[in-house]
Symmetry: C2
Subunit: 294 residues, 2 copies
């Protein structure tokens, strides 16, 4: 690694909120020379081009990566296997590959199957950042500033590739954490995938009511915040739910049991049980906020 970290040619496959913000952050840090964007729709790539996120668009991913030194996979996790298969043979030996997928065990399994001898150049990563908006139009350079990025390197992962990926995320302003991929998927099922399913289900349940369209007019900031993430990309979350099925089902079942206990307490009018549950929740949340320094 040079004294000043710099990527000569970055290829971003999937130029959405995550991939687009990665490119913008590196550009802002003057840590990248040329950025090529690859994507499914010309319209989104045109937005990315117009916004200066990418310098060039490409429809053929394999051709684009042939002389890349850094490849960022920013597609929904359900497309990773296909994208990896398309670029594998064209990857130059020293190119470093990372991703922004919200699940890691499945992405790693796809990379292992697709990349063969290049698998050691792949560094799985997951930025804990995002908004309820998606697409190149939603990307911004500061998305990763002071946000955590979880890396889940494997024994096979090249140390040089790992250093390069760490350096790139650091240039984006992120704080790096390493986790085992399985632990990552279990933790994220609980703190991210479950809350998204909860929010999506809450909105559909309300919308399904006879008075659905009128309901939101009577709501306050509580509902607004609780369902903010129900604005997230349906495709991305469909893929995450399927990719992380087992851990998510376990988290869902723990939550459903808790909800069932609350329901039973409400039905029998058990104020003590409700109060102690709500107090436990309030204390846990307060401790969490303290631990996050908020």
């Amino acid at each position: 690694m040079a004294a000043k970290f710099r990527i000569r040619k970055l290829v971003v496959i999937g130029v959405g909120l995550i991939g687009g913000s990665f490119a913008l952050a590196l550009k802002k840090a003057r840590a990248v020379g040329h950025v090529v964007g690859v994507g499914r729709t010309r319209r989104n790539l045109a937005v990315a081009r117009r916004r200066g996120i990418i310098d060039e668009t490409a429809l053929d991913a394999a051709a684009a990566v042939r002389d890349a030194d850094f490849v960022f996979l920013g597609t929904p996790v359900g497309q990773m296997a296909d994208v990896m298969a398309r670029i594998a043979a064209a990857l130059p030996p020293r190119a470093v590959i990372t991703d922004g997928g919200s699940t890691k065990q499945d992405v790693i399994a796809h990379a292992r199957a697709a990349f063969g001898p290049r698998f050691s150049q792949f560094v799985p990563s997951h930025p804990i950042a995002g908004t309820e908006h998606s697409g190149a139009a939603a990307a911004f350079a500061e998305l990763y500033r002071e946000r955590k990025v979880i890396l889940t390197p494997l024994p096979e992962t090249s140390r040089a590739a790992l250093r390069t990926v760490r350096a790139a995320w650091s240039q984006c302003g992120a704080r790096l954490i390493s986790l085992d991929a399985r632990e990552h998927d279990e933790i994220l099922a609980a703190v991210s995938h479950l809350p998204h399913v909860v929010a999506f289900a809450l909105v559909t349940a309300l919308a399904r009511r006879q008075n659905g369209p009128r309901l939101f007019g009577y709501s306050g900031g509580g509902l607004r915040d609780t369902v903010r993430i129900a604005g997230s990309s349906p495709e991305m979350w469909r893929d995450i739910c399927i990719a992380n099925r087992d851990a998510l089902l376990a988290a869902l079942d723990g939550y459903t049991a808790e909800l069932g206990a609350a329901r039973a307490a409400i039905e029998r009018g058990d104020g003590n049980a409700l109060q102690s549950m709500f107090e436990r929740a309030r204390s846990a949340r307060a401790r969490w906020l303290v631990s996050k320094g908020k």
Copy 2:
């Protein structure tokens, strides 16, 4: 009603976020002369006094209301029956009473039972405003600015009392809506009470996990917003859940069915079902935000 609306003596029973903010807003609007605060704990009343929310503290609610012209009931709904019984005999004939309770059918039933001939002076109200903080320390004069306040007057309600209560809330900057009490309780069960139970249950489910204390460290803004309202007053929400039991159970069951459908789709890896559910949620939320002008 005089040209300029003004309360000579306001008694606030339960000087928390809701009652305290009501007093502060009226003071700021110079719409109140003297404010007496009644409460269970001397400590909270001392905070209210120090912050200028109230001018005087009283421990005996009946004595305090004897020469009041406006009484605001700001206690959790579970205490309303008791508070009403204590003040009923002392209420002067022309005093107007309102409340800030989140449920209306139960509060109305208690008022009808307690107030006798004074029942027509009681105007049930529910401000759709609040934060996850509670107590006099959390009160602020702008809480009700541009927020909705739902009134659920009855055929017996005095028109003069209704005018006075409307004028008071208007001085707080609120926008007034009228609803039937039963409709109010059904709507609020869906858009407010259910989301609170969802948030409380989500936090307790996460906190209960073996890695509970570490979990929040890996979370992002999604979880933070989804569970913000799990910081709300456990006592207040215990009372609401019990007071609005039937409507809340119905809302909970609709939500649980939706969650069960999501679970089944995840389990069988049904991407189409998940995507269409998430898309329905995203569209409904988007329409809601448009209808609220956000």
